[in-house]
Symmetry: C2
């Protein structure tokens, strides 16, 4: 499991909102991510995965498309060198296999196994449950607004001119 701040500092997060202005967008985003990550990491370890990234990789492989490791690394936003260790672990747990593309023997085609599919499905339901818990009591209209606003922030171009 990826190292995370200990419980001490974890709780401290909440203390921040008392000290910093409470409506700090960046701070709240970080806090919300941390909160979700705690849930998802726990769900991941419960089913033998290491990390949310393990699940991201499984998710990307679940559609059965043939992807090279490089494509995969771009899709899940993991450095290609880091992806290697993830794939090593998943392969060791028999959740994926690395096949060689007969048409180009340089590339490896990681493919999800039935066991990997089962693990992925279990994690997906856990994730859905976590998100439902997080949004419990928020009416659907507000949910979609939240998601839209987040998407809007995320999609914003990196247009802030690169330092004159």
């Amino acid at each position: 499991m990826r190292a995370r701040p200990s419980a001490d500092t974890e709780l401290g997060l909440m203390a921040c909102s008392a000290i910093f202005r409470p409506a700090d967008l960046t701070f709240l985003l970080h806090a919300a991510v941390d909160r979700m990550t705690v849930d998802l990491d726990r769900a991941a370890v419960e089913m033998g995965l290491n990390d949310v990234r393990d699940w991201l990789v499984l998710a990307a492989l679940d559609d059965g498309q043939q992807r090279t490791q490089l494509e995969l690394s771009r899709i899940v936003c993991v450095d290609k060198t880091t992806l290697i260790s993830v794939l090593d672990r998943l392969e060791q747990h028999k959740l994926i296999v690395r096949t060689v593309d007969p048409a180009d023997r340089r590339v490896r085609i990681p493919q999800i196994t039935p066991a990997g599919r089962r693990t992925y499905a279990k994690f997906a339901t856990a994730r859905d449950a976590a998100e439902a818990r997080a949004l419990d009591g928020v009416d659907p209209e507000q949910r979609t607004l939240l998601l839209n606003l987040l998407a809007r922030i995320a999609d914003r171009q990196n247009a802030a001119q690169p330092a004159t």
Copy 2:
């Protein structure tokens, strides 16, 4: 500056939304955080800071309260060992000084210097500008709703029972 994924993988983030279901709360949160962090990190380096955490520390010290390093680490949610290097750097740049508490010679009281205050103020305006950019065109009512929902997610108790 803290290492971040290269531009390649950075852009790949957006590709995710095409592959995963587009309304994935966790994914959007991550993407939004990444987006804000890019802006803030850039602002930080422009004024000689290393990191957003440098600014967090300055912000926590700006109110002039006497805090030990341990308290400080809890407030800014940084491991106490990591905080040491942050304080070392800030002290080297003369933005803070470490004083010894005369009442308890074990503890150090980091205090912000006038130069530190100036740097903090500059960063604060840069941060406000970044957040304003991120929320450009969103009407005030929706902004407060967004912040409230984020706070709600973040504040949620770690109540998911710790694995039976």
